[in-house]
Symmetry: C2
């Protein structure tokens, strides 16, 4: 899993992930707060970009954040230290083979992870195993098929689709958001509820023009440039025009739309 | 304009439009209410599907609803009579050449109309002319490029794209929603604000499975069947498979997503 992570593991990528989390934190995290002393599992914490918000919104909860990548965990630990967050312990673990007894946790949180797993249903079942009866799971995912913008050019759409194809090529699912409801239901969770969380950007929303269109979305697309060109998904000329056109959606006459999904359910 | 209206003018179409409006009324209309005695222009009222909600939410306002089609106005009048709505007067008029003096109305309302006009910017300027200084405009549009679903098959996407292509072929713009902000700004309106209004459907939302996926969306796609096949956009076999697959998104394991936009601005 580690070596195939579509976004790579560079320092630049770590910065992108933190910027993205800051911008979207309020939209995605503000309604998740766990009671004091509850045992929470964060599955697939990566560099800790979401862990910051999870821990801040539940300062009394005891959070265990696991990831399969040791370098990511090192990043995440350093980030928590810099932020003065002390209610998180980190542990290396594979979501598919969690080193915890059945019914260990009161709550499970998993954000931007299922899309990268070859067996998301198996992952949800594995998480359900370590969740206590009556406990909750919270799942957040994007859906790259939800993205559209104005002006829309053929080249911009092609560049965007390189991201989708690069993820599909790694057996990931960039269209995961729309599947949350059926997946949570099929994994046997109860009271499944899925809410769309919409990011709509026009020029009246300066912070999102910078923080979302440029620093999150275009940065993410640019991250697959080399592999997209090397694997013949796109020519360098169409790529450059596509990226240029995506930047036009961040100009005063442009608009941009993306949709996240947040699902909650109980065991 | 009349003869080219993409959805046609049949009785079945009138029923579809009323069903659609009932289902979506709360999402789109509930935050629009005009003060007593204010003069409101509804531009392009069609068969009155939106007029019902406009009039109910502003029972003391004096509403003038115009449309270019006389049969549609006849429908609309009959519908108001059946609903006991008496604060609307109907008048035949072309939005591009409104038979009203400058600054006649305190508020302008226009819903699902700009997408059908060859010159939406000209229409907004024409509406601005008859709006009083300080008055408001409210614009509601869909965006067919915002639509996605699960499961997603090639044939379902092709059938859906027939609707988009049929509208483009009539010089309409099925991707109007994303353009509302720049259009209202370019037309010279102030304090432009555009909000996305999301329709997300999974099997926990029975009413929307029926009222939106089946009676609104699939009914709308089915409305272009004959012209799509006749003009060679799609084969009858792919069409049938596509429609069948769209119905699968209304099954318990399916999900469906569509996005409306509501814009408000002042003169």
């Amino acid at each position: 899993m580690k070596k195939d992570y579509v976004h790579g593991y560079s320092e630049r990528e770590a910065i992108r992930l933190v910027n993205q989390a800051e911008t979207l934190a309020s939209l995605l995290h503000d309604d998740t707060s766990y009671p004091g002393d509850s045992l929470v599992l964060e599955a697939g914490c990566g560099v800790g970009a979401q862990t910051i918000h999870l821990a801040r919104n539940s300062p009394q909860a005891k959070i265990t954040s696991v990831d399969i990548s040791k370098p990511s965990l090192t990043h995440a630990k350093a980030l928590m230290d810099r932020q003065g967050i002390s209610n998180v312990q980190f542990q290396i673990a594979d979501i598919m083979e969690l080193p915890f007894a059945e019914e260990t946790f009161e709550h499970v949180f998993i954000c931007f992870v299922l899309e990268h797993l070859p067996d998301p249903l198996g992952a949800l079942r594995s998480l359900k195993r370590v969740l206590k009866k009556g406990g909750s799971i919270t799942v957040i995912e994007g859906d790259h098929g939800s993205c559209y913008f104005y002006p829309e050019t053929e080249e911009a759409v092609k560049a965007w689709k390189c991201l989708i194809k690069a993820q599909i090529g790694l057996n990931c699912n960039p269209l995961m958001g729309r599947e949350l409801y059926p997946l949570l239901s099929e994994a046997g969770f109860k009271e499944v509820q899925v809410d769309p969380r919409v990011v709509y950007v026009d020029s009246s929303k300066e912070e999102l023009v910078e923080g979302f269109i440029k620093k999150t979305i275009i940065a993410m697309v640019e991250g697959v440039k080399d592999q997209a060109i090397a694997s013949g998904l796109i020519t360098p000329e169409i790529w450059d025009k596509g990226i240029q056109d995506l930047y036009r959606t961040a100009e005063p006459s442009g608009t941009f739309f993306y949709n996240f999904f947040k699902g909650t359910a109980n065991k």
